[in-house]
Symmetry: C3
């Protein structure tokens, strides 16, 4: 750690609470990182090349950051997006970030970046218009050091397990290369993410289905073949180390159709004669089908519900997806998941972890469901809510209803490889602060809190993801 970050950051200021929190934190600070859901590109570790420059590392692929700069009138082409983005000047992008640093104050992005700048580069000053060029040069120079290569960072980050997120048609060559490489000791697993195949409303769904059938070597272009192809690819992913399937859906709607109805809707979806209502029915049926397959192959389901993707069509057309314009909506789990849980919720092989951007569902629906169904677990605070105060609200909302042991463990869900330690460290601090309060309020003994703190980091994610 090359930093003068406050060693007690995020811990409570009250001296009695802080002492307890520090004691708890000291027992988890050095534990390895388990990252069972995220978006790091495996080629990063396969190729193990130096990061190109500070902007590409910290800005171009972080739409949490670029969206806030976008509010100040800076077009996304400045940050490498779209056709015009190809000629974006990384130093100029970095200057924009530094000159607008006040926009990130108090945000989780600001917190991660401050942590990364401090711990990786020894930077202990806030970026500004004045120091932008100096910081750029400092980071650019350091990026050439061997310790900053992806694999070296993987080791120094103490990552025990890292899951990527992958298209069902991916050949997983990167994962195979890593597994076959005796010089790489880490465990990196793919995750099966079939959204684009399950929902006829997905962009290019017909082409996606045809590609899936082809990759799976499936010749029947019908519902039975489609199901076989999905099962085939799940088996392929599992054989290549996958432990889970991820489902990013607008709503967690499930339903169970008869095979005949499903087959009919599938055919009409391919033919383009399916109605909007039927599309939703088919997508809901396929989400339940994923649960059915999980009862057979044991892959864990993670369900991320409640986001309107690409809210600004103009931005999407010009700059594509993942450009900071995915906006949450109210979520519902109790009724939406009922058909799936009625069918498979008591099956010992099923684990379904529910992630929500609608925090009202934490105490109202998710914790009560996870407090009864052996198959349901509470997903950690996600995306916009993966931040200190939100994570505190998460514990406050779920613990009294379902305790600590029905959760998923912390999930970083990030593309930003360098932010992984900052994120897990934040979660550990927030949890220790929360536990310290329960100890101070006579609700847990210190020994109980210590055990919970460690279990949250190690045991619980291992059990949740069957590691």
């Amino acid at each position: 750690m090359r930093t003068n970050l406050d060693p007690a950051r995020l811990l409570p200021s009250d001296p009695a609470l802080r002492a307890i929190a520090e004691e708890l934190y000291s027992s988890v600070a050095g534990l390895p990182i388990i990252s069972p859901h995220g978006h790091v590109d495996p080629s990063l570790l396969v190729e193990n090349k130096p990061f190109a420059n500070p902007a590409e590392l910290f800005i171009f692929f972080d739409h949490y950051v670029t969206r806030l700069l976008h509010t100040q009138g800076f077009g996304l082409e400045n940050f490498g997006k779209g056709a015009a983005g190809a000629s974006a000047d990384p130093r100029e992008a970095w200057r924009i970030l530094c000159s607008n640093w006040h926009m990130l104050l108090g945000t989780s992005s600001g917190y991660w970046l401050t942590h990364e700048f401090a711990t990786l580069f020894g930077i202990n000053e806030a970026p500004s218009a004045e120091n932008a060029d100096r910081l750029y040069d400092l980071i650019a120079t350091e990026l050439l050091e061997p310790r900053m290569l992806p694999r070296a960072l993987f080791e120094s980050f103490n990552i025990e397990f890292l899951a990527t997120t992958d298209d069902p048609c991916d050949d997983l060559a990167g994962h195979q290369a890593l597994a076959a490489d005796p010089t790489f000791k880490g465990r990196v697993a793919p995750t099966f993410r079939p959204d684009a195949y399950l929902d006829p409303r997905a962009r290019n769904w017909v082409a996606n289905v045809d590609r899936l059938l082809a990759v799976a070597g499936e010749s029947s272009r019908n519902y039975a073949g489609f199901i076989r192809a999905l099962e085939n690819r799940r088996a392929y992913f599992k054989a290549n180390g996958a432990v889970s399937c991820d489902h990013g859906v607008l709503e967690a709607y499930t339903t169970i159709l008869t095979s005949e109805t499903a087959a009919d809707l599938f055919d009409r979806a391919l033919a383009g004669t399916i109605t909007a209502h039927e599309q939703r029915e088919f997508a809901g049926h396929m989400l339940a089908e994923m649960a059915r397959m999980s009862t057979e192959d044991g892959l864990v389901m993670t369900i991320h519900a409640g986001v309107v993707r690409n809210h600004s069509t103009a931005t999407f057309s010009k700059f594509g997806p993942d450009t900071g314009q995915d906006i949450p909506v109210a979520a519902e789990f109790t009724n939406n998941l009922r058909p799936m849980l009625e069918a498979y919720g008591l099956h010992p092989n099923l684990t379904a972890i529910l992630f929500s951007l609608d925090e009202t569902t934490w105490s109202r629906e998710v914790a009560p469901l996870a407090g009864f169904y052996p198959s349901v677990r509470i997903g950690a605070p996600w995306w916009f809510l993966d931040a200190p105060d939100s994570a505190t609200r998460f514990r406050e909302a779920t613990t009294e209803i379902a305790g600590f042991y029905r959760g998923s463990g912390f999930i970083d869900d990030t593309r930003a490889f360098l932010s992984i330690p900052a994120r897990h460290d934040m979660a550990r601090r927030v949890d220790c602060a929360f536990l310290a309060r329960l100890v101070a309020e006579g609700r847990l003994t210190l020994d109980q809190a210590k055990k919970v703190a460690v279990d949250l980091v190690v045991d619980i994610p291992r059990k949740a993801f069957k590691l």
Copy 2:
């Protein structure tokens, strides 16, 4: 009190806040318990028999607890449920609880049980696989002591008023026996709970209606007779001490139909020719009818809205209701209650207390309604939300909008007789902690806070329930 529980538990750790909170708490800790809504069986007090064993006392009838054990794969038959449950071994059930004690850490159930074990049996160690048998024997022995008989506990708990919840056809013999018994000094009142009669979607609704008509001595099997029968039973309950009617509904939907329409829907509901939409209309009309009757007989309405009961049909079929699988959904009061409040909301005889499992409604709908309508009061945090952090959020959400005096007072709503003191004590501590903060922040004087703390325990529930 045979316990070394932290005497300052649940109070703030900051020394300035704690001193104020302790001063406030000391003035309410010993006040009698008013319990105007709950689910204790009156036969418990009529028969006054020793509790059978630790498992029956603490596990078999507490679905807050069994649901968490259920998530660990223990079938509910282990806890006395269903046909197989008849032969459940109480000692084995107790072992399961103790061996899985970590599941309850941080939960309200864990808090109640710890409080009960400590104050009633002097147990100050956490249950575990190792001490399970010893604790079982210790409790089983103590249960034979005269001080552990229900009536002795009723007195030592210092219960001033206890309401049960009863079927409209109940003859209330238990209540009459208690009232007639000169050796029992407590006040125990029935509560009229007509859900199964008001909503044609209720299980066995037709049989329920026929039984109601018979019990009320009503010969007209039509809407007018149905209304007379309900009025008759309300009068019977009131004559037997009832102060309120309780309504547990999926949604707080109300509407006011013409008598002709209501009569037509009633007939068609009996005949089985009513539509789903009309069933909802009729149920909404009957909820408003209950308000109309309240303006006449003065019985307080408590409305508990927003739960999908028996979410897992497989569990319900095997183990019945109240088995931990009732899951909340989003609630709505502003529009749903409007027809009822338009008609009766300004009537001086009406009191409608709104309980919600959707905490978003506290600041958005419930407190604003209670801040205007003389008839509307804010129900205390209920069920999953009856816990320290949730109760704190409740005060934070409602006080700035409607103050302290538009609430119901604390409601324990419990089947678990032994948990009543723990629950009321928790509420008093949480309220004192909240009030202490307002004092420290210069928002209340200490004298004002002291008055409020006492009123929350005594005056407010008495006024809310017209005691």
Copy 3:
């Protein structure tokens, strides 16, 4: 300041936090007040007459207060409302308030009034039945002092900018008089509030439209003329100093119709042949039209969504609007605003500030929208939520997602002229308390927090409202 109010009121009690919060607060306490949205009547400043009496000043026009007295059975006629209200006795109304002071404990109204009584009249005792007459006389006497004249207060309050809210047909004579008066130094601006003209469901919509056309000198009674009339009045408001348009809507629904469809719906709305669905479509189209006009004239949009106005028809019929019976409902922005934002959300001239009474939208929808669209800003906590704990939740909900600089700055939104300093002071204290915690938790440096504290008061409202 004639008061012994706690100088550290609303600041955290923890000594470490308090020291930081006090340092931050000291740098903003004396800054001028910018009030870019509110409901003060400009004639107050034009006429500059003494306030009539304590009841008229503090009760008759404050439906936050009268609603709480109403819950105690005091009819609104006691507070000057309705036909019977004309003869309301101000001293008797004041006695009712003082005798029921406990109803206001913990509420924001109670906080404002305590602040006003203390700072303006040196009253440091809680109102009660006993002191009611004495306090009445004390205040009544002070109200005759020159320092208590509206203009003198405007100056002593240190108001830099005050916006009123005005009907589009208003001739703004009051504003013109103030602007032309060399003895009045303040800046007072009108705000264009066209709700009653944009939504065919508004009371007397047809008459409203005809008046608008007449005032705008527009002879074409059709959609094109209607649009021209609105543009004409916006221009008139802008020429008279307006910086914003305010939209109070049940839902923030927007849609964009073709001119032909809009013209057809307009004609049929005038003719009374429009359906309920079409009324909503037309209103949604007109809200989007306001955004279109804003891209042309640069007036800021403030959108206040999610209230059922006049919930009790009996009360409305007898006492009119703004009588404490406006009740919030769940709000939605992500989908509702999408058509408007798709069309105009990236336009550099548009600013749309979103105010919500449904606090669940803060983290779920409003902050994410404001974190991407340059045109969207987060409205300060509004109405029922304009209070210390709610404002703290607002910061906690929005800051991690969108930082501090995507907000509106504090908005008092009040009719109660005398409460303006108390409200702005409260907001400053709450923000300093929040910032102090971030500093203590190592999330901001003290220097960063100081800068943010000042920007929240000065820079941010100026930018948000283009002052």
